[in-house]
């Protein structure tokens, strides 16, 4: 096999994964103005797009900036709203008033000291949950406020934020933007056959429309089918349904009662007896869905749970919402980059949307491919190995973190929750962390890889939110009490100021639609 430069990138599949990856590579390598690298996206004119998750991470802001997309345009075109984290309701005890937040901001003073142990020992006197005591974002979310004002520049804000978006509209928007602004070539055709080189690399794709597409690197964004990596290269799928039991979803679009109804600026995740309901507020509707374990609940009961959550006045109305059923296979491919083919999106794997990990994994993959695009075929194998190591680690971390939400629950109202606490269902790596935290408060030092997906703060929010207690020893040096008090007081001060100052989420969205945000 000759060593040749990698210049022709072929992305197969036109969902959000395909367009984000194509756009990210094209932007990085200036395909609009230079011929050096060519990015072609081929998609079937006939395959419907599965809109994965409507929740994003704050990384989406830098992704949009890298793609040269204006925040105002994005918000207008994609029915988008602001997301400031997630509210987990009824996960710990299942009672009506049981909730905690996983906000998108670090605890106050996080870089200077760990407030966790101080909070744990004084929580009864403080009378405030961890997420509320150390971060002002929960209060903003509870008050239905936006993370910024109309005077903030695009992508700037008072509080850190991500977005909720309409995945279908986002894909349409990217389709146009990537072609018009970033120089991605678009081919509508159905891939029918794959022609290989002697070493097994993909040489070209044959299509039903009789177009042959040659390439040096192929990105598999074909969704659950995993046409290239799974079907062609036969890379096995590693299920994790022994850890995460969710295998079904029922999704509906729920209209707002009124055009002026408030929009939640966080994802609401409400635990049920065999899974949980997501509730995401877009501009014109809410996206609501129930993900559950079919081993623990019948389909009829699941429908009933969702219907009762949506709580419409009239029974017939629920069926008019045309609930959509989706079968979920939790897990990921054994590796993600094989020969000259790398999978991004559902073709690489899927996990329940509890922490909105789908789009962020696409962004992380697209970033690594774009920024470390192999210079030539020889070095590609090295990059592939590094990519596989990085993403195997990341998938495992996400699986651990999702499981953490379940395995600490005190709910005892169903087999689903009891099974989730079974020691054998908890991965070894998570066991290890939980054992460590038995005696050491969770801290930044527990996570030292460059490839962490969730910072230590995220673990703290979930652990303390779920009522986890470290057996703290008096001799352990925690944090200076003065410092801790000062930080909590500072958070309190900023919290009350911002609750007065920030506009309602709906109000800001209306203003952005009317006046737009300024670039600076």
């Amino acid at each position: 096999m000759k060593n040749f430069p990698i210049t022709r990138i072929v992305v197969v599949g036109g969902g959000s994964a395909g367009w984000l990856t194509a756009g990210r590579i094209a932007a990085e390598h200036q395909c609009a103005s230079s011929e050096r690298i060519q990015v072609t996206l081929v998609e079937s004119p006939n395959v419907p797009i599965i809109g994965v998750g409507e929740g994003t991470w704050p990384t989406m802001r830098s992704t949009l900036i890298k793609l040269g997309i204006s925040e105002t345009t994005f918000i207008k075109e994609c029915n988008a709203t602001f997301k400031q984290g997630a509210k987990f309701a009824q996960w710990r005890t299942g009672k009506k008033d049981d909730f905690y937040y996983h906000p998108l901001m670090l605890p106050q003073g996080f870089s200077k000291g760990n407030l966790g142990p101080y909070w744990q020992t004084t929580q009864d006197d403080l009378g405030e949950s961890f997420s509320h005591a150390v971060c002002f974002q929960e209060a903003i979310c509870e008050a239905g406020l936006a993370p910024k004002s109309i005077r903030h520049a695009e992508f700037a804000g008072t509080a850190n934020y991500a977005y909720h978006l309409d995945a279908g509209k986002f894909t349409q928007f990217l389709t146009k933007h990537c072609q018009e602004k970033l120089g991605v070539k678009h081919i509508l055709a159905d891939v029918s056959d794959i022609v290989s080189h002697e070493n097994g690399d993909i040489k070209s794709l044959l299509t039903q429309q009789a177009i042959t597409i040659e390439g040096d690197l192929f990105v598999d964004c074909t969704g659950f089918k995993s046409k290239l990596l799974g079907e062609h290269f036969q890379v096995p799928f590693i299920p994790c349904d022994d850890v995460l039991f969710i295998d079904r979803a029922i999704a509906v679009h729920v209209p707002y009662e009124q055009e002026s109804s408030p929009i939640a600026s966080h994802t609401i995740s409400t635990a049920q007896d065999a899974g949980w309901v997501w509730d995401i507020g877009l501009q014109s509707r809410r996206g609501v869905g129930y993900v559950y374990s079919s081993k623990h609940q019948s389909q009829d009961d699941a429908y009933e749970r969702l219907e009762s959550y949506v709580n419409l006045d009239n029974k017939g109305l629920f069926n008019q919402l045309k609930p959509k059923e989706i079968t979920i296979k939790s897990g990921h491919r054994k590796c993600f980059w094989q020969n000259n083919c790398v999978a991004v999106g559902l073709s690489a794997g899927f996990l329940e949307p509890l922490e909105a990990s789908a789009l962020v994994l696409v962004e992380l993959s697209a970033t690594m491919i774009a920024e470390q695009l192999p210079a030539n075929r020889q070095v590609m194998d090295l990059i592939a190995k590094r990519f596989n190591d990085t993403f195997s680690y990341r998938w495992q971390r996400i699986i651990d973190f999702l499981k953490l939400h379940y395995c600490l629950s005190q709910r005892d109202d169903s087999e689903f929750w009891r099974d989730n606490r079974e020691s054998t269902s908890i991965p070894e790596s998570l066991h290890e962390l939980l054992d460590l935290w038995q005696y050491h408060p969770p801290s930044d030092l527990d996570f030292t890889s460059n490839n962490e997906v969730f910072p230590a703060a995220s673990y703290q929010y979930v652990l303390y939110g779920m009522g986890f207690k470290t057996q703290l020893q008096p001799h352990q040096q925690w944090v200076d009490i003065h410092f801790a008090k000062q930080q909590l007081a500072q958070n309190q001060k900023v919290r009350s100021m911002l609750v007065e100052k920030l506009p309602a989420h709906r109000e800001l969205i209306n203003k952005i639609n009317q006046f737009g945000l300024q670039a600076v």
Binding site: I150, Q514, L517, Q518
Partner: protein, 244 residues
């Protein structure tokens, strides 16, 4: 409070305006301006861009002080400057709009609640024959300038935006008494980007008549130092007051 009334030479034949009309601006730290007065403004004032609270859109202002309510040009009950911004100088007059079928008519109004409005002292609005006085004519001219300035301002700002020439300025100032202040929310012209504009863009700005305005606005930044100096003097005066 304002109480706007349309002016006519019968009802308001005896109306007079004292020199206290500018008092309304005594506590403003920013005053909106129009591009046509920038050449005069730079004699004293830093001209900046700021965002409107309710829309986030850019507007042009003269900077008068470093905190809410501080007008360093307001001294001993009067506006201490050779040139007073048009938006202040027109007081207590306003332009009202009257919708008539599909056209909008502009009418000259006066704020009857402004303490400067009376019937015994100050400049008269009309002469004995009911003709506007030179005083009123001058105010009318200022109001016309302001009205005209609205669309001019918008065109100017859109031009700056189209060339990405707006940049935030953050002022970290330590006054002579050691007090620190950090001021955000002010914007100006990005001189680096201005210097890097293509010949085509410069020609366009020149043809549209904005080139000089842009450079004048950028140059007005130097007046920030004069304003700091004013503040320091005000602090000293305050100290002197307590020492005596």
């Amino acid at each position: 409070m304002t109480n706007m009334v349309a002016i006519n030479n019968q009802h308001h034949a005896n109306l007079r305006i004292t020199e206290h009309a500018h008092t309304q601006g005594a506590n403003q730290h920013l005053v909106p301006i129009v591009t046509s007065e920038i050449n005069k403004l730079i004699v004293h004032y830093p001209v900046v861009l700021t965002k409107f609270d309710d829309t986030g859109k850019f507007g042009l202002s003269a900077l008068l002080g470093f905190e809410e309510g501080e007008n360093l040009f307001w001294q001993q009950g009067r506006w201490e400057a050779v040139y007073v911004p048009a938006q202040i100088d027109r007081l207590p007059f306003f332009i009202g709009s009257e919708q008539q079928s599909d056209t909008v008519n502009h009418v000259l109004c006066v704020d009857m609640d402004n303490a400067a409005v009376n019937e015994s002292e100050g400049s008269a609005l009309f002469d004995n024959t009911g003709e506007p006085t030179a005083f009123l004519a001058e105010k009318q001219q200022i109001l016309a300038q302001l009205l005209d300035g609205e669309s001019q301002n918008q065109m100017f700002i859109e031009t700056l935006q189209s060339l990405n020439l707006i940049t935030p300025i953050t002022l970290d100032i330590t006054f002579e008494n050691g007090a620190n202040t950090s001021i955000t929310g002010l914007y100006t012209v990005d001189e680096e980007k201005l210097g890097a504009l293509s010949a085509n863009a410069i020609t366009r700005l020149h043809t549209e008549g904005w080139l000089q305005t842009i450079y004048t606005l950028a140059a007005s930044n130097a007046q920030i130092y004069a304003l700091i100096d004013k503040k320091n003097k005000a602090i000293k005066q305050g100290d002197a007051w307590f020492e005596n």
